[in-house]
């Protein structure tokens, strides 16, 4: 019998195998060590349209209170769904009132919906043009693609849709419409010239970090229902809002937060 051959083969292979396993285990344990635990922070779900203004708010709040914020942005409808399914947020700043209200009705919030800002819809383009007569322009052949956020889940998309219908041009331009998942996707379309025109929030063009010239025109607020943006404190397993979350909630209604929102084109009371 070839017992010697089999034995030798077994030994050589098992040595390299065990060395491999040892290295794997070493690698995994080093990996575990390098993952340091983060200190306690407040996790806030924010609507995509307030991304840029929230960066400034975050800096100001953290400087004043020494509390870190973790901002996760997305389409309001998506964020509400995530919260409904157990996503661990302490505060939800929506782009509308309907999403936080439905969460409140389902008993997932500590308090009723509070409006923190009212948004303004604009029409915007990356190429130099006057958009005062955007309605006529949208009908011409030079405009091939018009971006807007998904009206089902993004309030600015809904406002854009209302505007098109109110102006009576929806049927004529509906084949030109390109839907983004959230307002930030529409912003990507606009700034990269992927669409000729796009409906977005005024905060895009008032963002001081924006490094390019955009051409825009405010949409008449009579053409769409007001984009009141509401916030709620989300119920956590502890049974009451954390002191940090309460502090941030109060801060968002303070004059300093309102001043920042104002600078980005939001209306505040």
């Amino acid at each position: 019998m070839d017992s010697l051959g089999l034995g030798l083969f077994m030994r050589r292979e098992s040595i390299s195998k065990s060395l491999f396993m040892k290295n794997l285990i070493l690698f995994l344990s080093l990996l575990g060590l390098s993952l340091n635990l983060k200190s306690q922070t407040i996790r806030v779900a924010i609507a995509a349209n307030i991304q840029s203004v929230m960066k400034e708010i975050q800096t100001d709040f953290t400087k004043k209170n020494n509390i870190e914020l973790e901002l996760v942005s997305g389409a309001s409808g998506n964020l509400a769904n995530q919260i409904r399914n157990g996503a661990p947020f302490e505060l939800f700043l929506s782009a509308d009132l309907a999403s936080p209200e439905s969460l409140y009705k389902e008993g997932l919030c500590f308090n009723e919906v509070k409006i923190y800002a009212r948004g303004s819809l604009i029409i915007c383009s990356h190429s130099s043009q006057s958009l005062k007569t955007w309605k006529n322009r949208a009908l011409t052949d030079s405009i091939k693609k018009i971006g807007l956020a998904n009206p089902q889940i993004a309030p600015y998309g809904k406002a854009a849709m209302e505007t098109l219908k109110k102006e009576g041009i929806y049927d004529k331009v509906k084949d030109k419409l390109i839907q983004g998942e959230s307002i930030s996707q529409v912003n990507t379309y606009i700034t990269n010239g992927l669409v000729d025109l796009g409906f977005t929030a005024k905060s895009l063009v008032l963002d001081p970090n924006l490094k390019q010239n955009l051409y825009w025109e405010a949409i008449n607020p009579k053409n769409y229902s007001p984009i009141d943006q509401g916030m709620v404190l989300i119920k956590t397993p502890s049974g009451k809002p954390s002191p940090g979350a309460q502090l941030f909630y109060k801060y968002l209604l303070s004059p300093s937060a309102k001043a920042i929102f104002k600078r980005y084109g939001y209306l505040v009371k």
Binding site: L31, E70, G74, T188
Partner: protein, 223 residues
């Protein structure tokens, strides 16, 4: 530059690969032994993640594990683990999603071994377990490593499932692929580029090392 998403990706890939290796060896061994209707059935089910859109898997996992529904609530109440929007949930989803990538090569590798190998070992008085560990596994090493690397690399590239059941929570579910998506959404192309380059480099080095390693084993992962 926040390297958190990169570390998180590696943590997820490592844990997934390690757990799936154990599961894969057990199931792969079972599948490699003989044929039966049950095994065919099992193999078909285990291969599904290869063809199903990740959103299908993500959607059903979301429904199953949401704390609003029966199963998810039961797990949360009794095991105290929430499987949506949590790291544990991502590990579970990754394991399911990667089943064919680990089990496939292991099963083929074990099946390709000549039966005389284990028979010789039994004749020499070795138990089934010892034969499996010391004869079959070392001889199927190439396939096992292929399974490991495929699972690891595939987890690095996971996106749809993570987005559905993990969302985009820093330090918990924001893995590199999600961080790239988030950066693009935020119009932060520098950050998206940095993450993409890191992921590109690491994946290339891994695959390249695998080729060097497998050179002498006469087995390429593409075979």
């Amino acid at each position: 530059m926040d390297l958190g998403p990169i570390w998180l990706t590696f943590k997820l890939a490592s844990i997934t690969t390690l757990l799936l290796l154990i599961i894969g060896l057990a199931i792969g061994y079972w599948l490699s032994k003989g044929h039966s209707f049950l095994k065919l059935m099992a193999e078909a089910v285990l291969t599904l993640p290869l063809f199903l859109p990740p959103s299908v898997l993500g959607f059903y996992l979301l429904i199953a594990f949401s704390p609003r529904n029966g199963l998810g609530k039961w797990i949360l109440d009794h095991v105290h683990i929430q499987l949506v929007f949590s790291f544990e949930g991502l590990v579970l989803a990754s394991i399911i999603y990667n089943l064919p990538f680990m089990i496939g090569p292991i099963k083929s590798g074990l099946r390709a071994l000549s039966p005389s190998l284990s028979e010789a070992s039994y004749t020499l008085g070795k138990s089934k377990w010892e034969t499996f560990i010391r004869v079959l596994l070392p001889n199927a090493q190439g396939s096992i490593i292929t399974g490991i690397v495929q699972t690891f690399a595939h987890t690095l590239g996971e996106f749809g499932v993570v987005l559905m059941i993990g969302g985009n929570i820093p330090g918990i579910t924001r893995v590199a692929s999600i961080a790239i998506y988030d950066s693009v959404e935020n119009m932060d192309y520098n950050r998206a580029n940095a993450y993409s380059l890191i992921l590109f480099g690491i994946t290339f080095i891994m695959v390249f090392l695998l080729y060097i390693f497998n050179q002498k084993n006469l087995k390429s992962p593409l075979e």
